[in-house]
Amino acid sequence: MTAALLWFGYAAAVAWFAPPVLVRLTRSGVDARLGLLAWLVAVATAVCAAILAVQALASSAAAGWSALAEVICQSVAGHACAPAVYQSALVDTGLSAAAVATGLALVLVAARCAGGVRRGRNGSRAHAAAARLVGRRLSSGAVGTRRAGEVRAAGEVGAVVLDSPRPAAYCVVGRPATIVLTSGTIALLGPGQLRAVIAHERAHLAGRHNTLILLTRALSQSVPGVPLFRGAAERVAVLAEMCADDRAARVSGRPALVTALLAMATGAAVPEEALGTAASAVAARVDRLLTVQRRITMVRYQMGLAAVIAVLVAVPGWLALVAG
């Protein structure tokens, strides 16, 4: 019983109190990878704690069943029933009811979550398969022939071009995973910018970002109203973009990536020497790429995130020792 309360308490504390801290530490995207990890650890420990709580409740209820049966037997046999015995019967019945209710809720949530993941995965696979049939293979001329290795790599992931004047570039998991560009994108971007876009999408696929987004989104939809899950679904997507930006910047250089971002967001061609900032989601990414983080800031954020992760892991570890 105590164990169940401790685990429920921990899960609830993480679900309601971790999000404001994590949002503060990950908003600016300093060390996006560590930030992403912190969110995922928070979600994982909250989910595990909730499952352990239900399990603890069920086992303490099961332990009470024999006592309950004994009480009923005694009552039927006509023995005198002290108030203490009534009380015990009441507690045991309540405990069993709670165990059954939370157990059912857990099964329901798991089923909804699995359904969401399955629908997302099937939808993605169907989209990827259709894009590969409808799209044309990205010709190596579009990304420049100077660096053949990268072009070959893009071909391996399977970049296809769809006929559409609207600029769009995205990746979708499937068999195999596919990067989709529109002909509008090819027309809008220069070879260096196009390489940056492909590097960005390849980073998504390599980091399994779509799977992380799918899982957190399904969880948030299955258990609405929990700040942690809602926050994770939102922030994991943003941090995944920043992780992919970091990798793309390393591969193709910052100017190419930043100007590609601006061109794609505004739909107008941007020469590589034009750089700017503004107050919007895209501008925040742009700003971040332009800002050289002071080492001390970096270390401060990293220590903050590391401390959060340490607490998220240490507390349940300690609980496991205490609760048994």
């Binding site: 979708v172 987004i213 992919a244 971002l261 700017g276 503004a278 895209v282």
Partner: protein, 123 residues
């Protein structure tokens, strides 16, 4: 050698290239075998799969089928773009976009900032 899925893509490419004119397995076999050795049954199976998946329609003509695409490449492209770009649609595919499309005001504000930044630069 390319996988089976790629053969579907090769077949659809060639069907779409005919702009609505019906095609038989034999027609496509003749075309594809100019590029690579391929068995009649392989092409037949691929086209049958594409028919079952709804990409091709067919009418019997004597002993063989005549296949046509159920929609043009442009129509399919438009459908995929709708799925990819229109938020709140019924698709549940998880797509990682390079960048979200901006609305008019956002885009205008960003362009303004860009213009100011470039104007300020000497030269």
């Amino acid at each position: 050698m390319r996988g089976f899925g790629d053969l579907e893509s090769v077949v659809m490419d060639r069907v779409w290239d005919r702009a609505g004119a019906p095609v038989t397995v034999r027609d496509l076999l003749d075309e594809i075998s100019r590029d690579r050795p391929i068995a009649y049954t392989t092409v037949m199976t691929t086209m049958d799969n594409l028919y079952k998946k709804g990409w091709l329609s067919r009418v019997r003509d004597g002993k063989a089928y005549r296949y046509t695409a159920t929609a043009s490449r442009a129509e399919y492209s438009a459908g995929l773009m709708r799925e990819a770009l229109d938020t709140g649609g019924d698709t549940e595919a998880v797509l990682s976009h390079f960048v979200a499309q901006m609305d008019g005001a956002e885009s205008h504000a960003l362009r303004e900032v860009l213009r100011r930044r470039t104007d300020r630069r000497p030269g």
